[in-house]
């Protein structure tokens, strides 16, 4: 069974990896003919994935009442989704 500190360490590693991935994607797409919308959608997806890690692991909302967890998860999904729609 995974220990608490290991869970936090794994989450930290995943967050760093996603951060580096978003910057690398940004660098790649600056000199690429791919659609800007696809690039923005990828970055927004990474934001949602990172947000979920912080909410569930660091904030410990995975075992919180469902309403509060859903409100917080909705934030990291809805805000990036609206931003993507604006750039359409």
């Amino acid at each position: 069974m995974i220990k608490a500190w290991q869970r936090f360490a794994l989450s930290w590693g995943w967050l760093i990896l996603l951060t580096l991935a978003s910057v690398a994607i940004g660098q790649y797409f600056q000199s690429s003919p791919f659609s800007a919308l696809g690039f923005i959608a990828m970055i927004m997806l990474i934001i949602a994935m990172k947000g979920q890690q912080i909410i569930d692991v660091f904030m410990e909302l995975k075992h919180a009442p469902r309403l509060w967890r859903n409100i917080m998860l909705a934030y990291v999904v809805v805000v990036p989704f609206i931003i993507t729609l604006i750039y359409l």
Partner: protein
């Protein structure tokens, strides 16, 4: 008769579902702090959406503005805040395990990484001012300074809260077993800090990367 009654009670207790403390659905920290967090998130959501709309209306200006920003500094700040959040999370874990000394050390490390953010952000501002760029330069920099400075103030407040938590942990103020939820104050402060991290995770790609 009395024996029968006793044995049926025993049977009820034996068959009752076991509810372990870690399986209970519980909101960490004070409810008031969570309403405060929601209010803060709403304000920042308006800022983020406003920034995206303004960018859509001024694509060239925003693209030029973004080239003036220091992406590497933004990346280092992101790593510093994530690492700081990690130390706050494991500090709470140490508190629950009754290891106050370890909790204080971890909070100290969280504050150290938060200081990296403060120093780099001030350096970024100073570098922009040296180029003659300020809040009145154009719409991009007005929004850039407004959003990042507002977030910067939240970091400063968060650092004061973390320092206060470290002081209380050092003095053993979170270990009062008479309290209904002895770590509630610690959890509230920790969740505030994670919220500040969460906001930067949206802010950094929106302003620096896209």
């Amino acid at each position: 008769m009395a024996n029968n009654s006793l044995s049926s009670t025993d049977a009820l207790i034996a068959n009752a579902p076991v509810c372990r403390p870690h399986e209970l659905k519980r909101l960490p920290g004070d409810l008031a702090m969570w309403f405060f967090i929601l209010a803060e998130l709403t304000v920042f959501a308006i800022f983020f959406i406003g920034f995206a709309i303004a960018e859509n209306l001024n694509l060239v200006m925003f693209a030029e503005g973004k080239t003036q920003l220091h992406k590497v500094a933004g990346l280092i700040n992101t790593i510093a805040l994530i690492t700081s959040s990690y130390f706050v999370a494991i500090s709470l874990h140490a508190m629950r395990a009754g290891n106050n000394q370890q909790a204080v050390i971890r909070l100290g490390l969280a504050l150290m990484f938060a200081s990296v953010y403060i120093v780099l952000k001030l350096w970024e501002y100073q570098a922009l001012f040296a180029q003659g760029i300020d809040i009145e330069t154009n719409t991009f920099f007005t929004l850039y300074f407004l959003i990042t400075a507002f977030h910067f103030m939240h970091i400063l407040l968060g650092m004061v809260i973390l320092a206060y938590m470290a002081k209380n942990a050092y003095q053993g103020k979170y270990n009062d077993p008479r309290s209904e939820n002895e770590f509630s104050g610690f959890e509230s402060g920790a969740c505030y800090w994670h919220m500040v991290d969460l906001l930067w995770i949206i802010l950094f790609p929106l302003i620096y990367v896209i």
